[in-house]
């Protein structure tokens, strides 16, 4: 047994170094593969800055970040919010923040959670490996910030703000879900940006130049060709490449927002896995430290109190309930995986024959690397975790005057609960499925979008407001058809149909 590293709650830079050294050693023993860490000690005010820039260490200026900041400030002043764990940046080196107000225990917890937990997740999970380039993100964000500032100087803050507002509205429709990108460096990005400036406008013009030529021989036998030939899911990409009226710098702004949306897309898809993984490791590492005598009982008590708060799951009927806590769900699944490896039961052997009794480090490593929330839950949510969390599936069907409990945590229900929960984390169900359907290239240049309803779920009221943003970017009429079973169930148009305008007048 060694001597505890420290015994009171004050931290110092020497102590942080010492804790970090031990945590790093233990993490490496467990096989965690991490980027080098950059741990930044900051004040509470700076933490609020970090919060409101939505996880970007450098961001361009925009009022919405100011709004976020104001909100964070308010929450913090009221003491509703602990500013502790959340912020860690998927970059190389991996940047994490420690708040100066925290105790030594909290600093150690955050180091274990963020600098080793999240860090190893960023480095190893396939989505991050495919979609993000940790070594270039900070440079790219710098490029974006400077570019936006330059535009503001040249074209005015209002002009830039308007375009960014519109792009932000489409951020969730600005990602490629299936295509794979080749990550490029910021240097490369700058060079390409110059090139794009020259070619892009020209290409857009080419698309529209064909119009008058085709107009003449638009015979009855010549069926109008669709554009795009196949429906496209990435609205921002389509707009960047094809919007008829955008200036070159406006296209570049669309691209910047699109790139950032793409960078954050893996985080949206792996919330449960990522938070669960980080929580599993802060828990495991700190327990190892306790076993080695590196931390004392006081440290452990404070730690457990904090850990329990983080993974607390209020039941559905609690006033504090606001959905499943991703920390709880993820932590429970990883913990149970470990348990199945070490102490498998009959049930485990039946449900998870490959996992029961296997090496837990390898099993968890595999689970962390190769899944996203949806597939992770489908693959690994065990009956035991469903029982522990007392999960149940409830149906809300239109036209039925009652909710119906479809399945609970019992033998008959496990599979259904698991399947429904996995689907809940599938972003293609969460976000409405909207595609670019057609552009009227020969007529009024209107853009037709199509929403495909799943289980008859319609679009929300504010769809019209979002379409205004699409309209600002596209420059001509924009139509959205919400399709249910192949039929147009609802139709939105900006500006509103001329017919309806006439009748209104």
């Amino acid at each position: 047994m060694s001597k505890p590293i420290s015994s009171d709650s004050d931290w110092s830079f020497e102590l942080i170094d010492e804790y970090d050294r031990e945590i790093a050693r233990i993490a490496a023993d467990f096989g965690l593969d991490t980027y080098p860490n950059q741990i930044e000690v900051i004040s509470a005010e700076q933490m609020m800055d970090a919060y409101s820039s939505v996880g970007m260490p450098v961001g361009y200026h925009h009022w919405s970040f100011g709004k976020q900041f104001v909100q964070t400030q308010k929450g913090y002043r009221r003491g509703q919010m602990g500013l502790a764990y959340e912020i860690v940046i998927n970059s190389n080196p991996c940047i994490a923040y420690l708040m100066e107000e925290n105790t030594m225990m909290m600093q150690a917890l955050v180091i274990a959670h963020a600098s080793y937990g999240h860090n190893s997740f960023f480095k190893s999970n396939y989505l991050f490996r495919t979609w993000t380039d940790a070594s270039s993100i900070v440079d790219y964000l710098m490029f974006a910030r400077n570019y936006v500032a330059e535009c503001e100087e040249r074209y005015g803050v209002d002009e830039v703000e308007a375009i960014l507002d519109s792009c932000h509205a489409l951020m969730n429709q600005g990602v490629d879900r299936y295509k794979r990108p080749a990550p490029i460096s910021a240097e490369e990005e700058r060079r390409r940006q110059k090139e794009r400036e020259e070619y892009r406008q020209q290409q857009v013009n080419d698309l529209w130049r064909t119009i008058p030529e085709m107009g003449g021989d638009d015979g009855p036998d010549g069926p109008q060709r669709r554009f795009p030939a196949e429906p496209q899911e990435n609205l921002l990409y389509f707009i960047e490449k094809n919007a008829p009226l955008l200036e070159t710098w406006q296209r570049e702004l669309v691209r910047i927002v699109r790139k950032i949306a793409q960078y954050f897309y893996p985080q949206r898809q792996t919330q449960v896995m990522n938070e669960g993984w980080a929580s599993f490791w802060h828990y495991t590492i700190v327990h190892q430290m306790y076993e080695e005598g590196l931390v004392d009982d006081g440290f452990m008590l404070e730690f457990l109190q904090n850990h329990t708060a983080v993974i607390y799951q209020p039941p559905f009927d609690s006033p504090y309930y606001s959905g499943l806590n991703p920390y709880t769900l993820g932590f429970s699944i990883y913990m149970d995986l470990k348990r199945m490896c070490e102490n498998p039961t009959e049930e485990d052997r039946e449900w998870f024959p490959d996992i029961a009794g296997s090496d837990w480090k390898q099993t968890l490593d595999f689970a962390m690397r190769n899944f996203k929330d949806e597939s992770f839950i489908l693959q690994y949510l065990s009956p035991k975790v469903m029982r522990d969390l007392k999960l149940f599936a409830i149906a809300d069907e239109e036209g039925d005057d009652a909710y119906e409990i479809k399945a609970i945590h019992d033998d008959r229900g496990y599979r259904r609960v698991r399947e429904k929960l996995a689907r809940q984390y599938n972003l293609s169900y969460k976000d409405p499925n909207i595609q670019v359907w057609n552009v009227n290239t020969r007529g009024d240049r209107s853009l037709l979008l199509r929403h495909t309803r799943v289980n008859g779920i319609p679009m929300a009221e504010e769809t019209q407001d979002v379409l205004k943003h699409v309209h600002r970017l596209w420059g001509f009429d924009v139509i959205l058809e919400s399709m249910d079973n192949g039929e147009v169930a609802e139709r939105y148009r900006v500006p509103p149909d001329s017919d309806s305008r006439n009748t209104a007048a």
Binding site: V41, Q46, G66, Q73, N172, E397, E398, Q424, N455, A460
Partner: protein
């Protein structure tokens, strides 16, 4: 050593979000201004110096994105089941909201969920409060009035008084001169010394015409001459000296003094006094915000006038009759004693209920016309009364006709008018 790089960032980049916050305030300035002007009406005198809570309706502030609406068929998973079993049916709440449980929680903060509420700081509060307002005619004064002068630094010169000698520059010049005059000779001296040393090391030749001694002697002679010359170069010379030069420049006068004159006589009811005080507090905050170097003179009067400090001006109470001219006289005396017009922009604001000894009002008019208005940039008068105007108002009206540019008067009947009237009096005027 750990593999982590620990950095202390606490000292840099404190207000990283300031720009974004300002962008946010800028976008919603309409809402904020409204909240600010409402606050001015509702607040008591003492808490004008605080931030303010601003609410913005959510529909104005939301950033819309495509998302699902209510309706259709859903199946959601929730935790914490207690007694449900598969097949249980739970009646939907009336009104048919749908969308599952866990939505539409009420706020426990006592604020509506449909409002975005936040705080602006005191500084921001004042910014919005005094947006677009300025002390009139300050600029004009600055340009035209060049009666006072100041000395400004204007480089260096070759003559001047010892007191203005710049030692560093003088020595630098001397050094440069010494280098330029002696450099060539010093090089020659080193050269000669080397030659002499070389000769001394050589074996003597037999030819007397080239004897070593002769050669050394010649060289020594030249060397001696050069050394004397170098020695004659003065270490510092008259032409090295440099003096600081100053030029007399007209000084634009930007210092300002504000006279606040308030009637505290018995005829002023508590309500009147409060209104007057609020008006002056606004004015005072406005002045403090705009001009770093501004002086404020507080004069309160009933039958006699007295110069008081800020505290006493706003917070102590008095009664008695009214002689307005006493305050004007005092103001005039203070200007003559302490605020020469070539150095000061002078402003005055006066508040009263219009009550005055009838005989005194014409005196006030003459004092203004003859003594005070020629000295000041701007004089504003607010009369706080719901009643008929009395002699003072009418006398002042004739003053205004004569000096429409620099004399302004307004009537205030209740607290809600303070801010609009204040804005009217100090609306930015293009000069």
């Amino acid at each position: 050593m750990g593999i982590s790089h620990v950095v202390d960032r606490r000292l840099n980049g404190k207000n990283k979000s300031a720009v974004n916050r300002n962008r946010f305030l800028r976008r919603y300035r309409r809402h904020i201004k409204k909240a600010v002007s409402e606050a001015v009406h509702n607040r008591s005198i003492t808490d004008m110096e605080q931030g303010e809570q601003v609410s913005i309706p959510n529909e104005d502030i939301q950033e819309p994105v495509f998302h699902h609406g209510t309706g259709g068929d859903r199946e959601m998973v929730h935790p914490g089941n207690k007694e449900f079993v598969a097949g249980d049916r739970l009646p939907k709440p009336p009104g048919g909201g749908g969308g599952g449980s866990g939505q539409g929680q009420a706020s426990d903060q006592g604020e509506g969920m449909d409002e975005f509420v936040f705080q602006i700081t005191q500084e921001e509060f004042l910014d919005f409060l005094f947006d677009d307002l300025a002390l009139p005619y300050l600029v004009r004064k600055k340009l035209k009035d060049t009666a006072s002068f100041q000395y400004v630094h204007a480089g260096f010169t070759t003559d001047g008084t010892p007191a203005k000698l710049n030692v560093v520059r003088s020595l630098r010049k001397a050094y440069a001169r010494r280098i330029s005059l002696a450099g060539k000779r010093k090089r020659r001296i080193r050269d000669l010394e080397q030659q002499i040393a070389d000769l001394e090391a050589q074996p003597d030749t037999d030819d007397p015409a080239f004897s070593k001694e002769r050669q050394i002697e010649d060289l020594q002679e030249e060397l001696g001459e050069l050394r004397r010359q170098v020695k004659r170069i003065p270490w510092i010379d008259e032409i090295d000296l440099r003096y600081r030069q100053h030029r007399k420049e007209p000084k634009p006068s930007t210092s300002a003094v504000m006279f606040c004159l308030m009637d505290v006589s018995g005829s002023m009811t508590q309500v009147h006094k409060d209104i007057a005080k609020r008006f002056f507090i606004l004015l005072y905050l406005f002045l403090r915000k705009n001009y770093k170097r501004i002086e404020v003179v507080f004069i309160r009067h009933h039958t006699a006038a007295k110069e008081v400090d800020e505290e006493e001006f706003f917070y102590s109470r008095e009664t008695g009759g009214t002689i307005v001219s006493s305050a004007l006289k005092l103001m005039h005396r203070i200007i003559e004693e302490r605020y020469p017009t070539e150095d000061w922009n002078i402003y005055a604001a006066q508040a009263s209920d219009g009550d005055n000894w009838n005989d005194d009002s014409p005196i006030c008019r003459r004092l203004l016309q003859e003594k005070i208005l020629p000295l000041v940039q701007y004089y504003s008068y607010v009369e706080i009364t719901p009643h008929e105007h009395q002699a003072l108002w009418h006398e002042y009206e004739s003053v205004q006709e004569e000096f429409p540019e620099i004399f302004a008067m307004q009537q205030l009947t209740d607290a809600s008018e303070i801010y609009p009237i204040f804005r009217e009096l100090f609306e930015q005027k293009t000069t």
